[in-house]
């Protein structure tokens, strides 16, 4: 029950999606439609599970008065505020002018973009440590990063203004992104994809079982 049925479900779901790709006709196209609908519903429930688990853990933290319980109160209040406003707006919850849209624009959006923006400072400090031309490979990394960064801002073309139009930093940055970068990305992408294919096969055949956890 605890191990065999999940393995069977994994195998059936995987095989149906593979067969449907090669035989997109009845009954496999219908199975695939069913599974896609179920996937959407279960994915939504998985997000709900995560949010409800956060709610539960925050409540436990407050109940036990653990360190930082005050922040858990703020988390719960904000979670409830967003959900109450979102559900009260109905199906058009995200339309311009709704309360949900207001919270998104003036709370969620500034917080998320600033969270990612401060990474610029950490990236700068990390690059200071990493960007030392210790060997040829590190020098290549340094030069590529430098050219791409400089080529993406107006000062790049200003500095290389004396060069012929096709040789300026912006064009050089574009060439690096278009060719050597593509070559490396492609090698990585093909490697990752082959890894995903073999991992998927292991999951479908029941060889890989770690996702089922213990006992």
């Amino acid at each position: 029950m605890r191990r065999d049925i999940p393995l069977l479900i994994t195998g059936i779901a995987g095989v149906v999606f593979i067969v449907q790709y090669f035989i997109p006709h009845f009954p496999f196209n219908r199975f695939s439609n069913w599974f896609s609908d179920w996937f959407s519903i279960v994915a939504a429930c998985a997000i709900w599970l995560g949010a409800l688990n956060l709610f539960k853990l925050s409540l436990e933290k407050i109940h036990a008065r653990r360190e930082g319980w005050g922040y858990a109160v703020i988390t719960i209040v904000c979670f409830l505020l967003m959900t109450v406003v979102g559900f009260s707006e109905g199906r058009d919850y995200s339309k311009v002018g709704t309360g949900f849209d207001w919270l998104y624009n003036y709370v969620y959006s500034p917080l998320s973009s600033t969270m990612f923006a401060i990474l610029a400072f950490f990236v700068a400090s990390a690059s200071y440590r990493a960007f030392r031309a210790r060997n040829f490979e590190a020098t290549l990394l340094l030069i590529a990063a430098f050219l791409v960064m400089l080529g993406r801002v107006p000062i790049g073309d200003l500095l290389s203004g004396f060069m012929p139009p096709g040789m300026r930093l912006s064009q050089l940055a574009t060439w690096i992104m278009q060719f050597p970068n593509t070559a490396g990305q492609r090698a990585i992408l093909i490697g990752i994809s082959l890894g995903i294919v073999s991992s998927s096969l292991r999951l479908i055949l029941g060889i890989e079982r770690s996702y089922l956890g213990g006992d």
Binding site: D37, G68, G86, R91, V107, S113, A117, A144, Q185, S200
Partner: protein, 221 residues
């Protein structure tokens, strides 16, 4: 509350939250932690609501309750299976029967594995190889010089990069030298990706600074 006042409240709130997150650059502090807690709560609420209306309501509720019986497909009742799997997933919150959430999890894992196996192989392996093996001088033998060099670079870089990732043979001799060239290409890729990431983060930072100095403080017109 009139809209002008509401707009000012919104600007001050957004500025308070933006500066709160920036305060982490000094050190970890209460202001930052408050903003972080708000972010966690608001994000969880956002996805909770979005997935309800976009997935649960649209897929299940509309299919089972809202659509008139005459307009439904003949297999509409299978949506109940999806709902049952969803409920089993939520049972993870009940420790005694939490193990049953492995069933929907197994479904998600299996469906994703099946989907990825074919799509990744078709798009990320076959199409990428197809795009690499191209006429060096262009389809009509009229490619400019920078493109000819670029096509050679892509073909050599992809091939040697793949050799570097091939660990079943020791990297010695000609094979090792090819792997070394592969490393050079990978380093250029990492450098370019790094530079690109830095610029995207800088762009976000400029956006936040623009908000603070232009929208909020009105110092920049």
């Amino acid at each position: 509350m009139e809209s002008g006042l509401m707009h000012h409240v919104a600007l001050w709130l957004a500025a308070f939250l933006t500066l709160g997150i920036f305060s982490f650059l000094y050190r970890d502090n209460t202001w930052y932690k408050v903003c972080e807690a708000i972010f966690v709560g608001i994000s969880a609420g956002y996805w909770f609501v979005a997935y309800f209306w976009d997935n649960l309501y649209t897929k299940f509720w509309v299919g089972v309750w809202v659509t008139p019986m005459a307009d439904r497909p003949d297999d509409w009742y299978v949506l109940y299976v999806g709902a049952a799997l969803g409920i089993l997933m939520l049972l993870r919150l009940v420790p005694k029967v939490g193990w049953i959430s492995r069933w929907p999890l197994a479904f998600i894992v299996g469906a994703t594995a099946g989907l990825y196996l074919v799509t990744y192989f078709a798009s990320n392996v076959m199409l990428q190889i197809e795009d690499t093996v191209r006429p060096i001088f262009g389809a009509e033998n009229d490619a400019p010089i920078y493109e000819i060099i670029g096509n050679i670079v892509v073909a050599v870089g992809t091939f040697t990069g793949l050799i570097y990732f091939f660990f079943s043979k020791e990297h010695r001799g000609a094979f090792g030298r090819a792997a070394k060239v592969g490393i050079f290409f990978l380093m250029i890729t990492f450098g370019a990706s790094f530079g690109y990431t830095v610029m995207s983060r800088m762009s976000l930072l400029i956006g936040r600074m623009d908000f603070l100095f232009s929208d909020w403080l009105k110092l920049i017109k």
